[in-house]
């Protein structure tokens, strides 16, 4: 390997996530749908990246491919240089509908992944309590999911995903099912969790303001076929104010790209 190639390799390795020529085609008897075509982008270690786009742009498909829940037709997703094959504990998932285990208490939900990893009981308890404290739910440790509000459920979802210490936090419209006020609060909390844990976050949303509020960079997608329109660097200091002129410019620019 030449020094130059080595350099390229290192640059790629420095990136946490590398999406490389990713394509996904769904074929049925009646029709073929090109959900994604030649999607390329990278996410740096510790970066917060949002994926936005109109419905049908394949952002959920992209999420599922990165999560390993589906296999790509072409290309690959690499995490720390290793191609993704199937779901794994290196990628923590957070869903819009929470996906909490209703038969487990908050504490038992959060410790699920640790149990699977064979972490010892004492260490599991310690780690679970730490996560619950991080999302501010220590007082609800013994409650069942049905007893929680939507915002609280999603905090459990985040704590559960983070408990196994994943390399990447993957979130698919996680705040789509909560009211606007709760969402603002959850944004602040997520950002503070992010800066505290220094995790890399990949966040799928259809809400442009949400994307600009949260991310370092926004991957803007277009539909038919699903592809990357542009990757926008959001160069704004945090905390960000929606009333800011610059904030509004970013939002307008991205909306223009989407065609809203």
């Amino acid at each position: 390997m030449s020094t130059e190639e080595q350099g390229v390799q290192n640059a790629q390795n420095a990136q946490k996530v590398h999406v490389d020529g990713l394509g996904k085609r769904y074929e049925s008897d009646r029709q073929t749908v090109q959900a994604l075509q030649d999607v390329n982008f990278g996410v740096d270690d510790g970066e917060f990246v949002c994926i936005v786009g109109p419905s049908g742009c394949g952002k959920t498909t992209l999420f599922r491919l990165i999560a390993g829940l589906e296999d790509p037709t072409t290309g690959a997703v690499r995490l720390d240089g290793t191609p993704v094959e199937g779901p794994g504990t290196d990628r923590g998932m957070v869903f819009q509908e929470y996906g909490l285990f209703p038969w487990r208490t908050v504490r038992e939900n959060v410790s699920f992944g640790l149990e699977e990893q064979g972490v010892e009981k004492a260490e599991r308890g310690r780690r679970t309590s730490e996560m619950l404290e991080l999302v501010g739910l220590d007082e609800f440790a013994d409650a069942y999911p049905r007893e929680l509000s939507g915002g609280m459920k999603q905090r459990v979802g985040i704590a559960r995903a983070l408990a196994v210490d994943p390399e990447l936090l993957l979130m698919d419209e996680p705040f789509g099912a909560v009211d606007a006020q709760t969402r603002d609060m959850l944004h602040e909390e997520l950002l503070s969790i992010w800066s505290e844990t220094e995790k890399t976050v990949l966040f799928v949303t259809h809400d442009v303001e949400e994307a600009v509020t949260l991310s370092d960079r926004v991957v803007v997608m277009a539909a038919d076929p699903g592809r990357v329109r542009e990757v926008v660097d959001v160069d704004l200091a945090r905390p960000r104010e929606r009333t800011d002129a610059e904030f509004a410019e970013y939002v307008e620019h991205i909306r223009g790209l989407i065609g809203e």
């Binding site: 779901p87 504990t89 923590g92 038969w103 699920f112 992944g113 995903a161």
Partner: protein, 293 residues
């Protein structure tokens, strides 16, 4: 599922309320206050009165009075018989009614247990495995509509007119009820939950079934067990009409001797046993499924 003493207390309260609710609602169909209990008592008394008057009008053997039934019940409850322990052959002095009930339980319990376990296991396996489902769906479609009693001829030639034969019939009934509840429960497990579990490190089928699929399907499985607990009493009676000893046999045997009061007394035994077993299982269900609202 933890039921540590430190939990929110919702569990304790709901179980406490559940006891009262189940007992009262079993008897009166509602639990919304004293008024309904009063109405329930009134209705019961009115029913007994109409029954009594009707029995007096019809007279004699055709319809026994409630009092005659109560008397027959007491007689059956106290009539001394010797009970021969199966297998051991030891003779124990006992009374008739409990002995008949125990005889029914000898085929009810094994039939219910074996049928339920096999039904749940097959239902979970077919609900989980798409290829097993595809392979066996035609067979299950054809076999399921056959009423358990239609198997009586096989039960008799294979096993005889005895506990085994009756248990077989009960088992078939329990099997299908539990099979379909387990099957639909497993099929209905949200994909989200399985995907989350996979992302948290569950990477083999057995772990997925044990830690995600079974708990998620447990409400449906529990419904199946409870339904079969009730249905199997109906099947027990029917199976005993063919000669296996027990409460059901007493019902038909007494009627053939024109002792309608005794017959009705045993009919009420079935009802009582059903109410008790259903009530007990409801409590079990509430405890197992305490995580549900």
């Amino acid at each position: 599922m933890s039921k540590e003493s430190g939990t929110v207390g919702v569990a304790g309260v709901s179980v406490g309320a559940g006891d009262e609710e189940s007992l009262r609602s079993r008897l009166f169909g509602d639990e919304s206050g004293l008024r309904n209990v009063g109405l329930g008592l009134l209705g019961t008394v009115a029913f007994l009165l109409v029954w009594h008057l009707g029995a007096l009008a019809v007279g004699g053997i055709l319809l026994p009075t409630p009092l005659a039934v109560a008397q027959a019940f007491l007689t059956e409850l106290t009539a001394p018989v010797t009970f021969v322990l199966p297998v051991l052959g030891t003779e124990i002095p006992a009374t008739r009614l409990p002995v008949k009930l125990v005889e029914s339980l000898y085929h009810y319990i094994p039939g219910l247990l074996i049928g339920s376990v096999l039904g749940i296991a097959s239902g979970v396996a077919m609900g989980w495995s798409g290829s097993l489902d595809a392979a066996l769906t035609p067979v299950t479609r054809v076999l399921r509509p056959i009423p358990p009693l239609a198997w009586i001829a096989f039960a008799i030639i294979w096993l005889g007119v005895n506990h085994n034969g009756a248990a077989f019939i009960v088992g078939i009934g329990a099997f299908w009820i539990n099979f379909y509840n387990a099957y639909s429960g497993v099929e209905g497990v949200p994909t989200d939950l399985k995907e989350v579990a996979a992302s948290l490190g569950v990477d083999d089928d057995l772990t997925m079934i044990r830690k995600v699929v079974l708990p998620a399907a447990s409400p449906s499985i529990m419904t199946g067990i409870r339904t079969s607990i009730g249905q199997c009493w109906m099947i027990v009676v029917a199976a005993e009409l063919f000669g296996a000893p027990g409460v059901g046999f007493q019902i038909i045997n007494a009627a053939q001797n024109l002792s309608m009061d005794v017959s009705v007394a045993y009919m009420l035994v079935i009802s009582a046993v059903f109410l008790v077993s259903d009530g007990v299982f409801r409590r079990v269900e509430q405890n197992v499924l305490e995580w549900r609202a």
